[in-house]
């Protein structure tokens, strides 16, 4: 058990606890905030594995943008401040979802754990190398990504505006 193992275990425990609470909590706003904790744990785990750039991007994009967007959507859909009783599920649904999650995790673990044959060094990929590959080998997928973001932006705007613009006389 090296120091890196310990640091990884701490981040992993944070991630799993945050994810568990994000899934089971009744408070909708708390679910989004526990997702922040889970993603910070994942970012810490990625940091230990040697991918500093990915960890930073994860925090910037997920915590900075996605979770804020989810919080805004919760406000716009009039989420209650307390427990969300309107969307409460029965015990059988909860048990079934838990079993489904356990089955998925068990299936993945049964495939992955036999591959875990020993310890590895922390990855030594510098940000300069990543940038060189990103704008060399991966430049066309990267450019395509900008097109995807533009399409998502325009599409989200068009969908969220609804039909009002098409028929100005209709009562919204």
């Amino acid at each position: 058990m090296t120091a890196l193992d310990t640091a990884f275990a701490a981040s992993a425990v944070l991630a799993v606890l945050g994810g568990l609470l994000a899934v089971v909590t009744r408070h909708v706003v708390h679910a989004a905030l526990w997702l922040v904790v889970a993603l910070l744990g994942v970012a810490g785990a990625l940091l230990v594995l040697g991918a500093e750039l990915v960890a930073l991007v994860l925090v910037l994009v997920y915590v900075g943008a996605v979770v804020v967007l989810v919080l805004f959507a919760l406000m716009l859909t009039r989420a209650p401040a307390g427990p969300d009783l309107a969307h409460a599920v029965g015990p059988w649904r909860a048990v079934g979802a838990g079993l489904l999650g356990l089955a998925s995790a068990g299936l993945l673990a049964s495939v992955l754990v036999p591959l875990a044959d020993g310890s590895v060094d922390r990855a030594q990929v510098t940000t300069t190398q990543v940038a060189g590959e990103l704008f060399g080998t991966w430049v066309w997928p990267f450019e395509l990504l900008s097109l995807l973001l533009l399409a998502a932006l325009v599409g989200a705007l068009a969908v969220a505006r609804g039909h009002r613009s098409r028929d100005p006389k209709a009562v919204p």
Binding site: A22, T77, L108
Partner: protein, 104 residues
């Protein structure tokens, strides 16, 4: 030195939690929380392959960046759809049966 068991187990548990979250939620916005957890499990796996040595063209660092960007785009479009559905139906309950006025 990091033993590979940790990252693999973390990825499996995160994906399991995400799948359970997708299955258990009736609030359409909170469904996305489960999707984000599944994607973060995938990120952990991608970065682990980089540390495990099977890494060409810095794919273990570049592909997670792509995954994060695609996930952000997906969340934007999904939330726009949820808001449009909330405006049309007045509810974002995923279990609610479709009514006649929902049909286009």
């Amino acid at each position: 030195m990091i033993h590979l068991l940790g990252p693999y187990l973390l990825a499996a548990v995160l994906v399991g939690l995400g799948v359970a979250g997708v299955a258990v939620r009736r609030n359409a916005v909170l469904l996305l929380v489960g999707v984000e957890l599944v994607l973060s499990g995938g990120l952990v796996l991608l970065v682990t392959t980089q540390a495990a040595g099977a890494d060409r063209w810095a794919a273990g660092s570049v592909l997670p960046l792509f995954v994060v960007t695609v996930a952000a785009a997906e969340v934007v479009v999904a939330l726009a759809v949820v808001l449009a559905a909330f405006r049309a139906r007045g509810s974002i309950d995923l279990d609610a049966p479709a009514t006649a006025q929902d049909a286009p």
